[in-house]
Amino acid sequence: MDWLTDAGTPAEKLTLMVVAIVLFVVVMGAILLAVDRPKRIPNWLVVLGFVGPTVLAIGFGLVYPGLRTMYASFFDRGGKNFVGLDNYVTAFTQDQFQIVLRNTALWVLIVPVVATFIGLVYAVLVDRTRFEAVAKGLIFLPMAISMVAASIIWRFVYEYKPNQPGVNQTGLANQLLVWLGREPQQFLLNAPTNTFFLMAVMVWIQTGFAMTVLSAAIKAIPDDIIEAARLDGLKGMQMFRFITVPSIRPALIVVVTTIAMGTLKVFDIVRTMTGGNFETSVVANEFYTQSFRFNEQGFGAALAVILFVFVIPLIVYNVRQLRLSEEIR
């Protein structure tokens, strides 16, 4: 029964997958069958059957490890000696990690705003035009692919070749520079601008999300408001500023905070593009590097907790806005 844990060939893997799914279905079926006796079974047992597996999974997979990590963040790299707040002090005071924090702050401030802005402008521009579906599809597609693939796509755009006779640029960005008569650049190596070139990838991915949600919000603006504004003589930019933007304000805030949360946890892009070198690391990437490459368990845990603490205000604000927008409706 080796293949149960070490499936090697494709056939074994696919069998294993089917076995796992069947196993799951059988277990869940048995539980449901056991509680499917109306009247004769006490209510709490039914509830246990429906909610029990989930509570167990969430407790084991999220709550317990979360608490363990918080606890571990007060210990040294081996997890043996209590060091108090030392890990946090290190994270906030050492130059190397201050750059990480600075980068994270830049990401969270810039990416959501730029992605939302472009998404909004684009949603307004293509709204109710003939090409709307296709035009949206183009912006939308980057959302379907992995951040790893997106990073590959953009690393190729930034590809650098030295500017010598007989050597052609293969990256589009540098070719454009050359065509403009400028020197080609190492986009991903030169700090501090390289961080911004990484951000472009995230903006590229998230704009589709912003556009979709905002476009739906724009379509939900009642027709009579728009018509009234038009009769009042509003046109173009004024319409955009005084009607569109205020009407979709709640959706705008939700989009910005949602993207900010995703950006805060960005890991794949940094890891694939630069590996966190050349002063481009962010907290989520540094967490991985410290925990799994340098085996700094306590410090890694502290970085994870820092990430957690940073997310909380965003979520609180997001939920409050959702509540507000529901009350207005």
């Binding site: 990590t69 979709t212 739906a216 027709d223 946890k265 990430l307």
Partner: protein, 319 residues
Amino acid sequence: MTTTPLPPQSFVKKEPGEASVPAPGRGRRLTRVEKRAIAAQGKLSSPWASLLAIVIAVLWTIPSLGLLITSFRPELDIRRSGWWTFFTSPEVTTDNYQEALFGSSTNFSTFFINSFVITLPSVVIPISLALLAAYAFAWIEFKGRSILFVAVFALQVVPIQVTLIPLLSQYVDWGLEGSFWVVWLSHSMFALPLAIFLLHNFMKDVPPSLVEAARVDGAGHVKIFFQVLMPLLTPAIASFAIFQFLWVWNDLLVALTFAGGAPDVAPLTVRIAELSGSRGSEWHLLSAGAFISMVVPVLVFLALQRYFVRGLLAGSVKG
């Protein structure tokens, strides 16, 4: 511009009955022609607007297009010239895909199967569990229900980074690290809070009278769940399934942590990220590899876009 526009807020917070705007069209639906007319009037001065839209669309498409073309060019050409020269001297080959898929150093076909094997159970399991839990939260009365639901809702906050180290050491204790089991388990557990939240929202939209009627007929919870709710929830399930599918297929962090670099378990994303680090200038392999990893999610996405948008709006705007 003769009239001053009303303060913007009045449009948003206006009570339904409060007629602050003298609108002749009030109370009737506008015809399509009128809508177009309004849209045309509301546009930012048109030629510039169209130009801007086109510029954005091109900016968003060119990077992928460039890599797609590259993936079909001969290796030597890729090294020597930019992909835009393809239009003047087109030369197409599928060698890159051949080598990427079956070449001994890359062998993406193996990792493709891994991705598939990882993804399917990681979508089926959390959805099933979440459906049951969401049903209980919506339609079974029990003590502590709202507290438990709020707790599950709140757990969406937890970034998975916080859970990785303790989970990994637990798996190592069990001797299961680097196997499919722990990857499935982890993906399933991480998906639950959002899944329950989304499906609960959809379940609450089912008219209570339907459920009541079934209950009066003597149906137990299991019967109500399968016969009354499941058929109504198919679109909701589809929309979450797409989310979860894309998330698992495209995931790097979970797979990297729990499957490691093991070629027997690691998915495509892990392999490509690795290749990008170790052989970052072999663009003939990277470009083909990237598109091999993109084919499935893009197809699923295009086929089921409608459900995806629905789920997106339910999760972020409706709340």
